[in-house]
Amino acid sequence: MKTISIFLLTFCFLTAFQGTGKKIPSVQIQTLEGKNVNTSSFSNGGKPMLISFWATWCSPCKKELNTIAEVYDEWKKETGVKLIAISIDDSKSSNKVAPYVNGKGWEFEEYLDVNSDFKRAIGVNNPPQTFLVDGKGEIVWQHVGFKDGDEAQYIEALRKVIKGEKIEH
């Protein structure tokens, strides 16, 4: 009974909001230096952004960001994209994020989400999960997990976004 009413509730809400673009939720997170930043201030001057959730203990996440790090310069040149990496490491490992990131030589914008507030607000189940945000600040595509070769899907989606094309679902 309860289950059914929940389903109905979901259905009604979802149909009511069909077509509305999903924006980046507003949550306070921190830079690696400890400065507070609100996620609603994320911008890339009208160019697309990739927001990627990762953790130092997550192998596919590290594979994803290490792979993108190798082609990041080319992607930036071609599409103007900015990658924002959100570490969901908690206080057990949040202090290992800076040494890892710099040790690998990543040049992404880096933040810490130590109690998973941003992860929860945006609806990530498990990392890695990456959101593609268009120049208007709307989330237009998502990708969960990461396996070798998936980076081709990202650049393909980015090319469509900068041309204003819709990404097929």
């Binding site: 009974m1 289950t3 059914i4 009413s5 929940i6 109905l8 509730l9 009604c12 809400f13 979802l14 009511a16 909001f17 509305t20 673009g21 924006k23 939720p25 507003s26 230096e33 400890g34 400065k35 130092t56 203990w57 192998s59 908690d90 206080s91 057990k92 490992s93 202090n95 290992k96 800076a98 040494p99 890892y100 710099n102 040790g103 690998k104 030589g105 130590v114 109690n115 998973s116 507030d117 929860r120 607000a121 945006i122 609806g123 990530v124 189940n125 498990n126 999960q129 595509w141 998502q142 990708h143 969960v144 997990g145 396996k147 070798d148 070769g149 998936d150 081709a152 899907q153 679902h169």
Partner: protein, 553 residues
Amino acid sequence: MKKLFLIFLFLFSFRIIFSQNILSSGEIHGNFSMDAQYYNPDSSIGAPPVPEKMRMQGYSNLIYTNGNFSAGARYESYLNPLTGFDPRYKGSGIPYRFASYKVDKLEVTVGNYYEQFGSGMILRAYEEKGLGIDNSLDGFRLKYVFHGIYLKGIVGTQRNYWGKGPGIVRGIDTEVHLNELLAREKDSTYHPSKTEITFGGSFVGKYQDGRQVTSGTSTLNVPQNVGAGSGRIGISRGKINLNGEYVYKSQDPSAFNNYIYKPGQAVLVNANYSEKGFGFYFGAKRIDNMSFKSDRNATGNDLNMNYIPSFTKQNTYSLLAFYPYATQPNGEINYQSEIEMKIKKGTFLGGKYGTDLAFNVSQAYGLDTTHLNPATDSSRLGYKANYMGIGKLYFSDFNIEVSHKFSPKVKVLVVYANEIYDKDVIQNESGFGTVYANVGLTELTYHFKGAKFLRMEFQELYTKQDFGSWAMVLAEYGAGEHWLLSAFDQYNYGNDNSAARIHYYTAAVTYLKDATRISLGYGKQRSGIFCVGGVCRYVPASNGISLSVTTTF
């Protein structure tokens, strides 16, 4: 049915009326996750009987946001909880709902919320679905920001499965971001100093009814209010980050500390240095009687108000993670150091595509304590701890990781680890003693064209204790953009009992597209300890088919 119809009617009209105006500028999003398992009986691996044959658990979050307002709810269902999860989760319902509003610098949340003060050693309400942990608070929270001063106040009770803990949790936290504070007069939001300084402090208290408890043959007078205070500082300049926190907790006799009246203390420091291609980390902490629960009678992971981070490497490869450390809130000394470095391309060791190296060492010890004789320990302090000394070794992990890319198609990763694990202390058992293990691992990845690749893992764990040695082979094949096939076998070849030299094999097919992941597997799962962040749960052996679906919308 009538009720259901009315709900439907209400929601439908709600949709028609509001979708056109007020709510049309808002948005709904959320996620969904479900795990189901069909269990085969299998006494050879010690799988507990599952009378339902099939069990399922899952949740869905729905969040509505409109400008400064947001509200949400999570529906959860455990019918029945999967083996290894607490059976008290049995049932379905909405354990999480909230509404939150921001007016200028004030943010108000009513209902359920998650919160952390500092490193979490004084207060942390969080969720870790994989462990079945959700100690969210239900009540009010206020946040206020004033020129670089961040204030938080909370009052609530904690979630305990489908109910609430008996204690009321109250807390305030202040964090000062000096660079923001000093920028005030200069009409900018940030002081341009290269040094970034933050400091803060918290007070957290709990109230629980009842003045007396019975422990063994004695009746004890217990405090109804227990308080804890903390101070912390963080300094960052260029390549260096330093931070530390100290927490003091007043007398808090509880089932977890065997009803002793010794005050609790915790101290933690972290330091890191990094530059391009090199990173160094060091962290250490000392914990003395710091279990902090909103019910003095709670045990295990129930109703924790705080979180003691474990400074150990969280290994992800199966046999490396075979003996994970679990934090000991009653007392421990723990440190960790890590080095991460990249050897440049074009050098002898770096080769054409570069080589990555990582070293890690972490150890955990008990406190150096002298137990007090209960006959003369009239104030029931339990023990005396020597601040400068260290006690018994609980855990040690030393590991080296080398990864090298031989060509755009071939990548290799090699790991060696040496681990010492006091099973009796870490798993709260007796008679097992300490396990000494050496683990070796090689991972090979071969990238075919496009999204096709083959990844193989070869792992071996060598030990003479516990269940003896294990070997494991894993193969994962990326079959195009959306499909992943994987299979592995864990073989307990070194078990003293030849009948227990079992192959634990699993095969799975995973479909990934956009925000959706669907995975179907079949196999045997060994019993073991599963940990996230130093908090662990025991997972019994199982044999069967599992299905997992997650999506975000």
